[in-house]
Symmetry: D2
Subunit: 282 residues, 4 copies
């Protein structure tokens, strides 16, 4: 573990994978100075991808936020969301019938784009479940927790089906001090109460990294040593990147506070290759 | 493990502890024939207590259900609810300030009776939390899960305080086929997301059995061998009773289905002294 | 949470419950100055008990260590070990047959004293298990881990029986820097691999505190407010004491280091009434 | 879930991935009739790979067992062991220093082949750990559990390092009735006691399937629909295969007994595409 300036680290790699929240964005929007970093990467010819545990919005919508701030290199194909893995899975495995979901209509995009009929949990009738083939946890909004989480429990008791969790995060920040429970936290509770085993997509899982790595390799030949993973969370970004065989940078602009970083690395045994204050540059 | 008729078992004991749901009651109300069993116990001079993981209603309200069906021996002092343990704790440990809670106004009875000022989570203002001394999980109703569970998360991040879970059950039946998430399930999710350690009251915890045992001993001298615990759930009633040193009866009228009983006892290693179909008699 | 001198705290209570390791003893033996504290307690007429998660040695042997250092008030009846709870359970519930155990011959004392025939796991023949009624985890020494932990696994697969863990601790210090896996850690692995549910004795469980509290009340009338629990570990001593309704002191002479205490209290939500450097006095 | 004959299923796929133990082998060796199935696959031009959670022996040694029984198509390159993923990781990430391991000398092959200096945990001196870069859990044999598991605990307390678990299985069968704890079970205990997070290789992890899938695609173009995963364990083979997007067959010749299959699928929510008695044919 070596503390260094981000620019001096990144120039040793052919591609960078960034986590979004806590690295490029925070509750106020894009972190100031991040645009300079992307200019630098473009100048240096270093490729980049954004790997985000998010199934609430489409890759197009996710990319637009960066486009709006002038980071024109961050196009839709640079975004890898956990929702995309769920989408690919559904497209491959579900051939007919309806797919029930927890989330907003916007999040259901990931199912619809797979050519499948969607059914929001809040419109589900427990007497009419025969053609439901799969349940997907997409977003924590768009349904009534009191009624609809209990409806999910009874749907799964009534009809056994594969359950997909399209975002493994258990919480997310909503402002400087507060957090909210993410759909991954709700799915954990349901899984626990029923004793079932759901299929989860998102970091630290290897599929997320594989997806991005294949994209990067398609543009230029490289090995896993040539990729740098940048994240603010030891349990998702860093352990996932380490396991995949990439070098990793822990940044202190999000989930891991500067005063706790050393202690957390020590107590978890999750050791990033580097630690940086932030990826922003001026 | 011996399968026997309930009457032939119970006559060997001085006192019986009954779980309520799945043993004496189900979703339709008191199980028919249970009233005959209580007549029999009264005739035989066998003492009885009802131990229930419940903090939604007062012992008075819980007893009234039996009274209404003519079981006049089941008076308030025969009811031991997990809410009563929470009440005793609050009375002993909280001397001033407000106690926030998740649950109905009816469930807040357990806090008010301890002489404390209550504050429903749905009326809590996160800007005004200085005098909140404790948070209590009482019931799954009486608040908005979307808003108020997130409010709980941020309350505990803002102010460190002891958290009490007054019912450890994770779900409960609502009709012949469906279940609902109980407050214990919600508290598990919050604890998990925050990494905190809450104080839980309810079976299988020893305090519940100790409370009932002391009541029984006050009426007539006995040892733990003289008490029979009757329940429908291996993980709460039976393991709790076994650990406390009492003999135990698993009944098959609730949570544990006749076709699964043998396999569940084998796979969990939780072995009741006896197995009975039901405590009802005709 | 208030940081104060131990003497100024303890004078407000009628009885004190001490954890042993990290509070009164460390790897070098009795912590210097502890003997003065017991002189002070004797002078002030404050009653005391030692509650220890230990099933490796008899209460007599445990008391002798204090006697040898001149603390003559710490007699056998002042010691409450988790092994004693296991002993009481065995005496109450097992009437015949053999009891298999993991531990030293010295630890088997807790079974023998219950009038039962013991069988060390290392002498167990898997072809002759019919009369084995119970398995007890007592101590991490006295058997061959490679052979005998696997033997335990297959014993429990062959014959379903109640399993008792007589010490819930997962590790213990062996010198200034090193620790060793305790029998509670081994029992967790076995339980996990088999999917079984064992009966555990030891802090933070209520039975331990109840046992000591009844002894204290037998000497002089008191309520739970009158008792102070002193420990070095948040997860056993402090949460257990808090739940039982006693005031608690976290001391920083053992498991919880001075530099981490505040952060650990914050992150776990386990809040002692007081924090003290040590109970030793000069 | 449809119950069908294995031959009638497999002809719809371009490649098959087999789990080894419980599918092709059991405690007596290769399951009779399995050789006919491989003849059939060869005739039909269906490609096959063996995916095994095993780091105790080299792929060469694993392949030899099949060769010896006349299955000459099962060459070393058809074997994908979890040890191989560990080997690839070590080769990529560790450039110097020594790698400590738990396992036999035979299992250390996976480290040596990566060009690294190995050190068995039983030869490790805790006073000389500065150049140890990584610890690898390989096999449950080859070390003294009493001494060496405690040595592992203290090694990791002394020096923070990344820990690799080269086989996630928690147990394995040793004969018709008995099982033994596998290295994955020991690593779980160590991780739990220390509160660390290790890197695990083996099914159900995606990397295992990715490795095999890339090999299959290199021989002939295919998509994930063209691959059939065959296994005896819901929690590793089936959920892993389902998540990777392949069709799956649960066979009843190993871990999952015919009488429990339906109930286990129901209770876990892990649903194979097909269920077969066995892959053997005559």
């Amino acid at each position: 573990m070596k503390t260094k300036d981000f620019r001096s680290i990144v120039t040793n790699y052919k591609a960078v994978f960034f986590d979004a929240f806590g690295v490029l964005k925070n509750h106020k929007g894009i972190i100031p100075g991040v645009e300079n970093t992307f200019d630098f990467l473009d100048e240096q010819g270093i490729d980049y991808y954004i790997l985000t545990n998010d199934a609430s919005r489409s890759p197009e919508a996710l990319a637009q936020v960066y486009q709006d701030k002038g980071m024109v290199g961050i196009t839709t194909d640079k975004i890898i969301s956990s929702g995309m893995l769920a989408h690919d899975w559904l497209k491959l495995k579900i051939k007919s019938g309806r797919v029930a979901y927890l989330g907003t209509e916007q999040s259901a995009h990931y199912i619809e784009k797979a050519g499948l009929e969607t059914l929001s949990i809040n419109r589900l009738n427990l007497e009419d479940v025969d053609d439901i083939k799969c349940l997907v946890f997409l977003d924590d909004e768009g349904f009534d927790w009191n009624d609809d989480i209990n409806k999910v429990i009874n749907l799964l008791r009534k009809k056994n089906m594969t359950v997909i969790v399209a975002n493994t995060d258990v919480n997310y920040p909503v402002n400087r001090t507060d957090i909210a429970i993410a759909i991954g936290g709700i799915s954990d509770m349901v899984e626990q109460i029923l004793g079932r085993h759901f299929i989860r997509f998102g970091k630290p899982d290897a599929q997320m990294f594989m997806f991005a790595y294949e994209k990067a390799c398609a543009r230029q030949p490289m090995t896993r040593d040539d990729v740098l993973m940048v994240g603010d969370t030891l349990f998702t970004d860093i352990i996932g990147g380490n396991k995949f065989g990439m070098d990793t940078v822990l940044v202190l602009s999000g989930n891991t506070l500067p005063e706790n970083a050393k202690m957390k690395i020590r107590s978890t045994g999750i050791i990033p290759t580097y630690v940086c204050g932030s990826v922003a540059s001026f």
